[in-house]
Symmetry: D2
Subunit: 380 residues, 4 copies
């Protein structure tokens, strides 16, 4: 008989749905000692959270997250609210002894994140941040190949995350679904939203970043705010690009924007090593491109690996070779790894401390862009 | 309050899993008046069906499908057993007044299928066959584009379904997971297993087929049978290719094999019309390739459509643009359409009668290959 | 000091240009003992052949090919005229002791081709047919890989050659540039024009074809004839597809059409062997796709080989790795190989005898399509 | 009767070959009033230049470029020697009244280039710099699309030029074929060699660059010098990446390296405009990727344009649709445009003055990388 693991979900937006789906699926596909239970959903809008709870099968609802945290029947608090609420909720949840799963980015900035790490570590509760792309099977495979030493000395890393959904200047800022355009709620624009993903993956695959030099731009300077009804200055960065140097001596370029016409969610990364190179693309997330210089010369070429075989990461749990999975599965894998980690006493990464490293890079980027100079990334 | 729709599942193999996953997900993503309930799972092996039921949350188990059919608390019988059992189960279920969902191919051959259609139509119960690829969003989009008349007169259709998993002659035939290699259980090889999918899609997109000319081959002549333990003659076709003519005047080539090294499940189809062409590939199922000759000359080219926008078929129900779904979602869409069809009194296709048309083409293919000549496809 | 090799060119159309370009380039890039000399160009239209000769630097012109053949200062007769003239010219040229280079297809049919082979072999002159695609470096590489035994037992071959330039029914038949639509000049439609290429490559890569089963179609039944000014019946096949069996036991599908909207000259072939597979595409002729099952499982995938390295066939003669060559270079390679073959006494393939094998397959295809049954391919 | 245009070629390396091929081909494919004549080839090594001249059909040789420049029978001096010789030769040739074609980059740095511009403009002779990629048909098409205003406001530009041929530390520097690794001859590494191409294209397509922020790296610090025989410090940059801002308000990233395993000559650029985006890739130079947001939503996607139709730039001069040309043709086009420009009195771009703008950007890049800060690009 499996032990229940009771989830208390805060938020019902895009991430609330993605996580709920993962919770509902994980026990069907992964062999865990715990049974995930959708115990309670929480949000301020009673009607909306009720509808959300009904849709996903949450057993109960709350309209005050403080009430949720006090409930004895909740094991895990999952924070799917805007960035400016993470710290308060996570800290309180940790203090209440709950496991804490927090959406990314961890915090509004590094110093705030540092306090969250201190709180969560003091509480000693299992914790994790939802940098889900690590668990796209092709990305996990990339990590395996790197850990096996196949690349040799790394010379270059390049990543970008391109979207095009905010080109229309009539799009407002703030409110449901649009809080990412409101600097008060989001902290920053593409830097915290998209580059945070790129940096998390990069730190995982290629180690620490020493220094960065960035530029940002806000193409649409004013947008109507949905909460005030007024046209207000846009405080977020619409685009951000930066150069950086990793501790392993490799050079990198990163770029993110919501103004790259033709790209919906084109997150790509490439690593060039002495012996081999790797490329991945979120728009075809089930493939990994791999080049190995040790292949015989006349048949050397980039290999397009259809990451759907039983011996590829996570894929033995799903269908049969050739049949792809999608975006949502990365969350299922993250839940599976978190629960397995709790069971084995080996936490699944990234935890708050690990996610804080991304926060320091984000701080350096924004500072660099603001000051127009190279900035050294803070260490913990 | 939603009305329950109680599922009785027969079988627990690959399709049993795919359908169960669909049942569990459909109410989370689609707005239906019914709530799917996993009422009972049925298979001869009590231990295995119990484990399956526990894993997926079926409320009860049966070890005799006749018992399942007699249960008053079952609304829908879902047949996920080998092909040679479809007729008996489906007929009995229809007779018992159950809705019937049957895995493809419908039957062992056309005459058998015809009897199934007669039985099911006499019973007057909703029914459907699991040709799931119609509901991959990119394929549904292809259908929309064709129905809108974008292609003009059609000249060519070509489809193939290539796999490579049976090249090893040590692979046995028969038994769990391998009944597809045993002609007694499967009826045929790639013809009924893979070409059936290609034909279903083709009839849907391009109308009736008049005549076919086929060849088949069995590359590995003998394989150990897992049930007898002896090396036995292989009765299935390992590969099948055929030419055909559609009623609309277009010409076509079809091919399927399990000996195409490098392809795991490469189902592709292409339609060439007077004005436009369409191409799709299961290995990248979230994309549709579209060429429109009416585009201005200097910027004319094949468009790679990332079928993940809210106005693409089914995609408004899932995530956000750029984030792909996978293989399993086609089953969720089929359940959603079936239930909505039941609610509206408009059955979702393909029903048994529609699937019978594929059966007649399969018969003509096998006859043509056997006799080495062109064969006219039987009409109902 | 290089010995001159004097070319007498007959025709000034598309192939006349392609060959002339090859003659002018070959000594710049290949180390040969002979210097190609553009001695004379010949065609009935005096003004046009004069302009052609001036453009390409031919030293003289003739308006009667019989005169050209009688000239003592001509070593090689290059036949770039419509198919229905090949036999007479080639036979006369051989009788006059000239080397003969003949455009493809060799002849109007097998029996005619057989007489040409007899004549040319009796004359004992070097001869070759312009199946140029063998010498696209990626195709030559495919041949090397096959000859090295990398594929193991071959199961499947599939080829197609798709165009879309005759969909418009207003396009006339006959005359300059359009003789390919006139059955009197061309002998057949896509079968002799396009499938001939596919078959030549296939015989070269995969050995003899035993039997074929074909269908053809003429979508536009009547077209204005440019020479009579009248609307006349179209005698060529607009499309042709066939199944076949090779002597090595492999199965194949071939297809060609000029009604595949979106494809300009999409010649593709694929070979599936026990151990490896190969795919090539004329629209990206500088690449070869290669899959090797012996690659380690988790990094197995189709390799996209950019065939531009110095150790790739012919490529050491051109630029540097990464810089592609184009269509026209296949002719340069063929001239280089022909001249080198003459110098070494080892003729370059395909010679007339080799090209006759393609002719027999073409005959079988047209007979099969006409009679609606399988036809055995004639052997010499 | 065409007027002769007599070429005096200095150098016989990679570019000497590429230009000679272009000179030999241009009159066969382009209708010009002049006939190119390969009058003389010049280089210090008498035996080598003689062999080169014989191979390409130059009528005479010189071993001192000053002698060549003094010859009355030379109209055009083509400079294909290392970068550190451009100024002296170009200035002398201009003074002697010759037209001057100079390999890129124009000069060792901006100030040197400025003097060259002054000298050439004072002499009033036609002049051009070999930034050949502008005349790859797909790139020229990109320029057309931009000039037609299809993109709208431009937000982003990104380009890279990746190679992998210097990863091996045993590769020496200096001497034939390797002078690009010797800072004394080359001036810089990938910046002047590869980024110069990227910048020339970018300025042409997207207008002036205001400011840059760069980083460079030399991965292999010491290499044997082929001329001294000693291991010497490597003075060039092995890799360079930079951020920049264009005058039109768009942001850009550029990167170049010779340490990107798997890429031979991967020059790519992408432009994202308000309404449309464009992408090009040298490894498949005959294609242009184009996305137009004004396409109907459900069939919107990146179009892969096979730039081989008669109405595509330059392509009407070559073969038929679907048949690609290669790298070398960009030089043929440049010669054709130069000669046509001379005939019409409208110089073909880029001339020295235009190429100087690239030089100023290169200077800013190297300064920025050296000083670790943003640098404003000098205007003329």
């Amino acid at each position: 008989m499996k032990k229940p693991l009771n989830i208390g979900m805060i938020g019902y937006g895009f991430m609330g749905r993605a996580h709920s789906n993962a919770y509902r699926k994980v026990n069907n596909f992964f062999d865990l000692n715990h049974q995930i239970v959708l115990k309670a959903a929480c949000a301020r809008d009673a009607a909306k959270v009720k509808a959300f709870a009904d849709n996903w099968g949450y057993e109960s609802v709350e309209t005050d997250w403080r009430q949720l945290i006090e409930r004895k029947d909740i094991d895990v608090i999952d924070i799917c609210t805007p960035n400016n609420t993470h710290k308060e909720i996570a800290t309180a949840a940790a203090y209440a002894g709950k496991m804490v799963l927090c959406e990314k980015p961890l915090s509004m900035d590094g110093p705030e994140g540092k306090k969250m790490v201190e709180a969560i570590e003091k509480a000693g509760v299992p914790n994790m941040v939802w940098y889900n792309y690590r668990r796209v099977p092709a990305v996990t495979l990339a990590k395996q190949l790197i850990d096996q030493g196949r690349l040799g000395r790394v010379f270059h890393y390049r990543a970008k995350f391109l979207q095009d959904w905010t080109i229309n200047p009539e799009l407002p800022q703030g409110g449901a679904g649009l809080w990412r355009l409101d600097v008060a709620a989001a902290g920053s624009g593409v830097t915290g939203d998209l580059l945070a993903h790129c940096i998390d993956t990069a730190l995982w695959l290629n180690g620490p970043i020493d220094s960065v030099c960035a530029m940002t731009e806000t193409f649409v300077k004013e947008r109507k705010h949905t909460q005030t009804g007024k046209v207000e200055k846009v405080g977020i960065d619409d685009a951000c690009a930066f150069l950086c140097r990793f501790s392993n001596g490799s050079l990198a370029t990163f770029e993110s924007t919501r103004y790259a016409r033709g790209h919906k969610a084109l997150y790509t990364f490439e690593i060039n090593g002495e012996n081999a190179s790797i490329f991945w693309d979120l728009h075809d997330l089930h493939r990994l491109q791999y080049f190995d210089h040790r292949d015989e010369g006349i048949v050397r070429g980039w290999r397009s690996i259809h990451v759907s075989d039983g011996d590829h990461p996570y894929m033995g749990k799903w269908w049969v070779p050739g049949l792809q999975i999608g975006y949502e599965h990365s969350f299922v894998h993250q839940v599976a790894d978190f629960v397995a980690g709790v069971e084995k006493g080996q936490p699944a990464m990234p935890d708050f401390r690990d996610a804080l490293r991304t926060q320091f890079v984000l701080d350096a980027i924004l500072q660099s862009a603001s000051e127009g100079r190279w900035v050294t990334v803070a260490k913990e």
